[in-house]
Symmetry: C2
Subunit: 284 residues, 2 copies
């Protein structure tokens, strides 16, 4: 999915919500265990119940890999369902945080972006920047696909290295500066945790036009209003992820309905933020 | 596998060779395609032909993930074969370069270390340090298991961020310093590329007792002699990986035999290095 289509989706759905499919067997409703693939059945129900409120879905690979090849089957079915049931209506993110030397990252790129090889066809993949340019560029060799580079993450350990500082910049700023040369705002986004909302104004000075994927709203304590205040652009420029708050809103028979209710709360807030920002930009 | 057992293996086999199972369908012998699982059959033949010359095997996950869940089945069969055919005789490394927020890394740890969940039971996993302590520590909650933290990698892009410098240290040094507090030489190793051999003496000043996993000898241009000169300790302290030079020595019917011949050349060099270092330490 290209940038203009993504922006169109955001403004037509009045939402910049991404739903994280961090599907954990210990948290999903008991009745789903009657199915052959409870993880996929859970995901399908969540997707069906929320697809008009969210613009993106983000399966986190760890929650599938912990079940080995069986988990990968559930993951594969999930991305295939997203693409077949709602073609062109959803942006899909492989939250895999991959990165390795060039010829190896090329194989990871096939995993995420080449359905003829892996069965999977995501729009974007999260990548770790530590190994530098050649670890990331192979993902950009697929036209229309995106990398989402870890910049400033939402966890406590973010402070261990991401704020490491030379005379001019902190490491996360160095990542933002260098990686802009690898791609463009048409194929590169950044992960910036919602728990770091006050840093977003610094980040927007470096990457004014790029989309940011913002996890950490909700369960991790980040505020949507703060994120929008510092991160929003005229194209929206934000994809805000929520996982646990939405998908585990209930673990009863009504889990999908309750997930929809939580997603709707987010979507309504986002709709307000978007319409306010549109009004404001007309006044400018 | 604990540290004393690993050291015992190294000195009894007179080898610190790790064979990288970066198994690529486009490079393996044509006759293997008669099998249902050519990747696994290739790996099994390589392992059987070289198990007495190597002390470790390191499947790189990218080469399996590019085939989706089918690739994960080949990967799972490979680690199960390593553990069942040669119990206690081989150190096994999941070269996956994972790392995410704490509750997510916990799921990755299950993937690598909990066979009751994923079917896989590696001794060690490579981890990316960018997200800091809480992204790495969940892997250390499994007794007897190891993390291998990316420090200074063998690729060109290593220079993009790993040499980023504050007043006192470069980033890879900061990673070495901080991460020593997370674990110990009993459960933590570091990745240091052979192409950075001259940096090993600086690295040994920081991590004098830790094992280093050294990729990049051979196809990537690193020298075994240089690595040993700067990196060897009284416990050996090195695991040197070779992938392409060994596993693709031939793509004919004799591929396993030729792989053995290449592994034997490495093992003989390593035997010489180890016996020289033992003689030298006796003279000290």
């Amino acid at each position: 999915m290209d940038r203009s289509k993504l922006i169109e989706l955001i403004f037509s759905k009045k939402s910049f919500l991404c739903i994280g499919l961090d599907t954990d067997l210990s948290k999903i409703p008991a009745h789903l265990f009657e199915s052959d693939d409870p993880i996929f059945e859970f995901n399908r129900a969540i997707i069906d119940a929320t697809h008009d409120l969210a613009i993106a879905y983000k399966p986190n690979f760890a929650f599938y890999e912990c079940y080995g090849s069986v988990g990968w089957q559930s993951l594969t079915k999930t991305i295939q369902y997203l693409n077949s049931a709602y073609p062109g209506q959803l942006f899909t993110i492989a939250d895999a945080k991959r990165g390795d030397i060039g010829n190896t990252s090329q194989q990871y790129a096939r995993a995420m972006f080449d359905p003829s090889s892996s069965g999977m066809d995501f729009d974007a993949v999260t990548v770790a920047p530590y190994m530098g340019e050649d670890s990331v560029k192979p993902f950009l060799s697929y036209p229309g696909k995106w990398i989402i580079v870890l910049a400033l993450t939402s966890n406590k350990g973010a402070s261990d290295f991401q704020f490491f500082k030379d005379n001019n910049h902190r490491l996360f700023e160095k990542v933002l500066i260098n990686s802009q040369k690898w791609g463009s705002p048409e194929n590169t986004m950044y992960v910036v945790g919602a728990t770091q909302a006050e840093m977003l104004s610094d980040i927007r000075k470096i990457v004014s036009g790029h989309f940011l994927l913002v996890p950490g709203v909700g369960a991790q304590g980040g505020s949507l209003q703060e994120v929008a205040k510092y991160g929003l652009t005229k194209d929206c420029g934000l994809i805000v992820n929520s996982s646990r708050n939405i998908i585990y809103a209930s673990n009863g028979l009504d889990f999908a309905e309750k997930a929809r209710a939580e997603a709707a709360i987010m979507q309504q807030k986002m709709s307000g933020i978007l319409s306010y920002s549109v009004r404001q930009s007309k006044q400018d």
